[in-house]
């Protein structure tokens, strides 16, 4: 791969892994959500994310051109080779923690993928155009829950405030960029991350304030996912997700 191909490959892993991991996290709610309707909603969203990750990892495998498939990339890479944003791998916790994580990533996805629809790379443009309709819905869903949990009962308010406080330090990592990203930006393939970050903050602040949730004042941000430095949770997630392919390589069903 030349420099531009390497940059595209890394970028597809970044977005594709994030979608796969948050999709997997949401799928863990299947059969466990607090109400039946939400169980179906969360697994619907999980499927949207896994579908999106398939598109991105398939494209990554094409760029890599080593005869690998989306499945090789999903099931045969270990923690340090994963590029998903830290926030996506955080455990489900209670329903409030799941919703806060989902909301933070949805706001990012919303602005990022809408901008990606203008990409000079036609494959990424196509993938983004397909994804934005789903993402619009994801954000509508999680934002409505933020309002209801924040402005609901004392207990729901406390739980969602705790969740927001706990996850806040993982939000900065979503906007981290590297030399690969800079190269893609020079080639009009990806949007300027500063703009996305600014829009994210405005929207999140707006929703949290309406939901009577305090915006955390913490400024320390955990980072490292672009280099494969993850929180301790990703290894356990991959162990479960990759178990079958690792134990019985190339098995199909």
């Amino acid at each position: 791969m030349n420099a531009l191909e390497t940059a595209k490959f890394e970028f597809c892993l970044r977005l594709g892994d994030s979608a796969l991991i948050i999709g997997h996290r949401l799928s863990e709610w299947c059969g466990h959500a607090p109400i039946l309707e939400e169980d179906i909603a969360l697994t619907n969203v999980a499927l949207d994310f896994v579908g999106l990750s398939r598109n991105l990892l398939t494209y990554a495998a094409q760029i890599q051109n080593e005869g690998k498939t989306e499945d090789d990339l999903a099931y045969m890479r270990d923690v340090v080779l994963y590029r998903n944003a830290l926030i996506t791998e955080q455990p489900n916790g209670d329903f409030a923690l799941t919703m806060a994580r989902h909301f933070f990533y949805d706001v990012f996805s919303y602005y990022f993928y809408h901008e990606l629809c203008n990409s000079a790379d036609l494959s990424l443009k196509g993938i983004a155009e397909k994804a934005v309709k789903e993402i619009d819905y994801h954000l509508r869903h999680s934002a409505e829950w933020m309002y209801r949990l924040g402005d609901g009962t004392d207990e729901s308010h406390q739980k969602i405030q705790d969740a927001v406080d706990e996850l806040w330090m993982y939000t900065g990592d979503m906007f981290d960029t590297d030399e690969h990203y800079a190269l893609l930006q020079e080639n009009n393939i990806v949007p300027a991350m500063d703009n996305i970050k600014e829009q994210w903050h405005l929207k999140v602040k707006n929703v949290l304030e309406t939901a009577t949730i305090k915006v955390p004042e913490v400024t320390y941000m955990q980072s490292g996912s672009l280099k494969g430095l993850h929180t301790e949770h990703l290894g356990f997630l991959l162990a479960e997700m990759q178990h079958l392919q690792r134990s019985y390589p190339n098995s199909t069903w």
């Binding site: 109400i35 039946l36 309707e37 939400e38 179906i40 909603a41 619907n44 819905y137 509508r140 869903h141 409505e144 209801r148």
Partner: protein, 98 residues
């Protein structure tokens, strides 16, 4: 029909319109705390296989239904009036959804 246990929200009836120009049909019911969440739940539960283009959600408590005791006076009088069926008209070719 009022749901006594509000921990899962109240009961809503869901109506889906399958195609433009045809009536909304009853698809089922669900629980939700308010109208917006009922609409979203209806979208997720009843339209994920492209069943519809429009959704109505109605609080089940707001529906007034006839009871089985009404059946005699409501419905039986029309049983011996077949001329009320529009079976004596020819439907032009190409008219759908009649």
């Amino acid at each position: 029909m009022e749901n006594k246990d509000h921990s899962q929200g109240i009961l809503w009836e869901v109506f889906i319109q399958g195609n433009p120009g045809i009536p909304h049909k009853h698809a089922g019911s669900l629980h939700a705390p308010d109208a917006e969440m009922a609409l979203q739940a209806a979208r997720d539960v009843y339209t994920r296989r492209s069943e519809g283009i429009s959704i109505w959600v109605v609080p089940a408590a707001n529906i007034t239904a006839s009871s089985p005791e009404d059946n005699g006076s409501f419905f039986e009088p029309s049983n011996d009036k077949p001329y009320r069926h529009p079976t004596f008209y020819k439907v032009p070719d190409g008219v759908k959804y009649l």
